[in-house]
Amino acid sequence: MNGLLHRPGARTALIAVPLVLFAVAGGLAPLLAPADPGVGDLAASLRPPSPQHPLGTDQLGRDQLSRLLYGARISMTITAAVLAISLAIGAVVGATVGYLGGWADWVVARVIDVVVSLPGMLVALAVIGARGPGVESLVLALSLWSWAPYARIARARVAGMRGSPHMDALRLLGAGRVRIIGRHLLPPALAPCLVYASTDVGTIVLGVATLSFLGLGVAPPHAEWGQMLIEGQPFLGSAWWLAYPPGIAVTAVVFASNLLGERLASGEEAPSLLRLAFPGRIRRAARSARPAVVAEPAAVQDSVLVVRDLSVAYPGDGGLRRVAAGISYEVRRGQVLALVGETGSGKTTAALAPFGLLDPRAVVTGSAMLGARELVGPVPRERRRVGVVFQDGAAALNPLRTIGAHIDEAVRNAGRGGRRGATRRVTEELLGTAGLPDPAMVAHWFPHQLSGGMRQRAQIAMALAGEPELLVADEPTSALDVTVQAQLLDLLAGLRDELDMAMVVVSHDLAVVARLADSVAVVYAGRIVESGPLETLIKAPDHPYTRGLLDAVPRPGTAPGTRFRTMPGRSGIGPDDTAGCGFAPRCAFATPACTTERPVLEPLDPSAAHRSACLRHPSTSTTTDGTC
């Protein structure tokens, strides 16, 4: 039972229970009600609950439970009528104009704008005020404004599909407009409309009750909930069975509808920010589950960052699921380490995990020493000694703040700021260092006004604000064209030399790496499969995966038109998804042992600089060399 409650589907179903009860009560009221809701025994006026009248009787001696059930029937009927009308009109109108476009679309869009921007209750009041009360007036009044959101949703949905190749194909096949709209556009447009309808149920039920309160709703003797609430008001202090059940019923239905709508609209709950806000508490919890770490030899003296046996896991359906395991690497002053792998291989995770820059749910174990400080654990991390450049500059910059404001903040965070003017001078200097022309002007621009390359330079400027010992760059050039890419790589290389900084560069592109890196670690399925000096790795790759990566790089000298090879199979598996080598399913050298035995990183040369995790070690065994 407990487990059931934790399944999202089961929870949603649980939330819908009041709505289901509402529908059942409404649909089956004549069967369920113990008595006629309209007829009472005046002699049995205001009786408290009893077996005969489970919810007591009202002033006229009518059975309150029956009235409540019939009230559900009325609310449900009106809600259904309003929803049917507004869904039908809204979806058809929206889909039609969305497909047709042109002036009809413009006019209808304006009308929808106006109707949506009107408060529904006001429209209802005005219409009923002009027409007089009654069920038809009520349905008309409520439909008159509730169709518009559906039309808007359907219109947006259809407008998005209008230009799709699928539609072109249909048109080429000679399908008529009516058929296209009716058969191909309406059904997909209806889905989001139905999600919206789940919230609308609550709005309508509440609206009907409120209009009844104002004397403009359903006429007695029909037992409408709002009407019952008004009749019950004088009895709030004396006859609770009249005053509370209808109110609870309305509230429960509206509550369920709101909650359901919210759930359906947002999908799963957004990840909690809890760990962002309280990193310490989570880490502590994570540490208790930390496995014993086999200490590796002490790092070389001038290492800036030493990562040992780092693992990252995310909570999932069946507990924690690891996405990176046993990651160990180190970076020395003035050196660039490249973490290379395909998309989803875990290279970014391996690079950012030491600094707590992952999704807040991530559980990080292992060790990462920045100088003499341990980064993994409950101690507050000293982030400013590390600069980070993210992959997508557009996303990594707050669109509402100027470039200058971002860097000013970083400068102040680093304790380098002073007065406003002094801070800005440092900022401009940093922008200049990052190679941005006219830093004073650029500082006043918003991120969306910069080109991709400039945004990356701005990020670099920001990263340099803390005078970091280490710069982590996550795919710094992936979204840029080749020329800009080259300029940026030159900038990074220049900075390394000038500032004698250590860098970790994450990339899927060995060509980028080749230009910048001193050493390389190849990541596959959340583990490092090969590492070593750049030269060695490029010239004598050992691991079949590294070879595959190299093969995928177009090399100077290949004849134009030669298709460089891509590896078969899919990437994106986790470190624990297979018992043996993660690459075995895609590997041309794989033996049966590869799928059962997990290879470990083994040194390939006496200095142990070059290591590879492969049972076959193709570079040392001079047997079949694949099919280069």
């Binding site: 007829v39 005046l42 002699a43 006026s45 007089g132 009360p133 007695p220 003797p221 009749e231």
Partner: protein, 518 residues
Amino acid sequence: MARVRPLAALVTSLVLVGACGAPAGHGASTSPVLRIGLGEESGALDPHAFTGNFLMVDAIYEPLVTYAAGGRLEPGLATSWRVAKGGRQVTFDLRDNVRFTDGTPLDSSAVKWNFDRWVGNKKFSFFRASQVISAVDTPDADTVRLTLSEPYEPLLQEMSIVRPVRLLSPKSVNAAGGFQTPVGTGPWKLVSNSAKGATLVRNDGYWGTKPRLQRLEFKVIPSSQARADALANREIDLIGGSYLSAITPVEARALSKRAGVKLLTGAPDVSIMLGFQPKGPAGDKAVREAVRQAVDTASLSKALFMGYAEPARRVFPPEVPDSGTDLPLYYDQAAARRTLDAAGYTLSGDTRVKDGKPLSLKLLIPSTPAQGQLDPRSMAAAIVAALKQVGVKVEIAQVDAASYYDERAEDNWDITFFEGLGAPYDPSGSVVSMFTTDARGPLWATPATKAAVDQAVFARDTASRAAAYQRLYTVVAGDAGFVPLVYRKRLWAVRDAVKGFAVPPTDLDLGVTGVTVK
């Protein structure tokens, strides 16, 4: 403002822990102010229009003749009157030394000026006196003489009503004769009047018994429940009366149990009735009789009116002059079923059918209660339930209050509620509109009832008048032309601190002259 506000009281009680937190007033000292709940903002207090609140008009303006309990007429601004020329002439002697609050003396020319504003005016045609008076003369400054086109016995009683006969200072209008400020001779003067309420102060120059209070503060609270709550919460001192701030029976019951509040009941002045539209199914006398037999008026007055009503047995309650003799209590559902069976309405499922047509009646009600009337919706629900038990289907048709009377004048309804006007208008004020064929939406009108009304209204002596009224009631009852439902008691409530208040003779009066507030 000499009262401790509840919030202030809270603060005080928080400061003085353990101190009495009750928002009490000033011990035994009396307050010069009476705070009165008002159901609806009063419009312009012009006695010759229909906009002002009855009780405020009554407090500011006075008539020549006043209506006392039991329908007695007593001297008002006229100290005496004489009827002459076979009832065609009435002469009033005005009270001496009375001035309007703006200093204008009340003399015959002022009275004539007032009468000229409404005599012969079409706007007041419902009010027979305005049509019957043919001349207003002023033989001297203290005497006003009315000449009538025909003898009209109810004239003197009509001289006591609230509008339009009350006297306004001739100086309180603009050059075009348009009403400007409310200035009368009454015990109270208006200080302010807004959507939030009104304030009246004592007229220290009043010729009669001066009120003991200095100020009346009317507070507009539209919801009757909120008014009852406010009284219980000591925010106001007085509520009640059909035209001031009606109390529903449920609220009355709750107030009667509440400490610190006194509920006062007055003899009923109206009866609530069910009337028929003869052009539909209710044209069949058997249907009317069955409806009359189906409604359990005794239980209705107990359950719906919580005992603050009695089953009605006349068109007007016994306290109204010339209300005739009691009719029997008709309730007998078995008899109702027999009546319908005999008339050929056979039960088919829940509803009776005759000639293939189901017996269904449309009950017309206003969607919100008219001023001074009970919420018609619960009454309607009770009628629906009662008639359902004898196989008559009733559909409630709600129309907004504004067009209710228009709709009642049309034909597309079968049953609806009627009430008299109450004292001092009844019976003469209501019988014409209820029982004559040329009235708009009458209760029950046939040539026979019209004849009886004419005889009653123009009767020259009390005995023949009483006989004519009795004839009228007998004819209507014989036709099963209406269903007497209940006499509604007049309900008022005051805080215990209010001393000397008694339910006024009519719900149009504000009898606070002897009232004090502790």
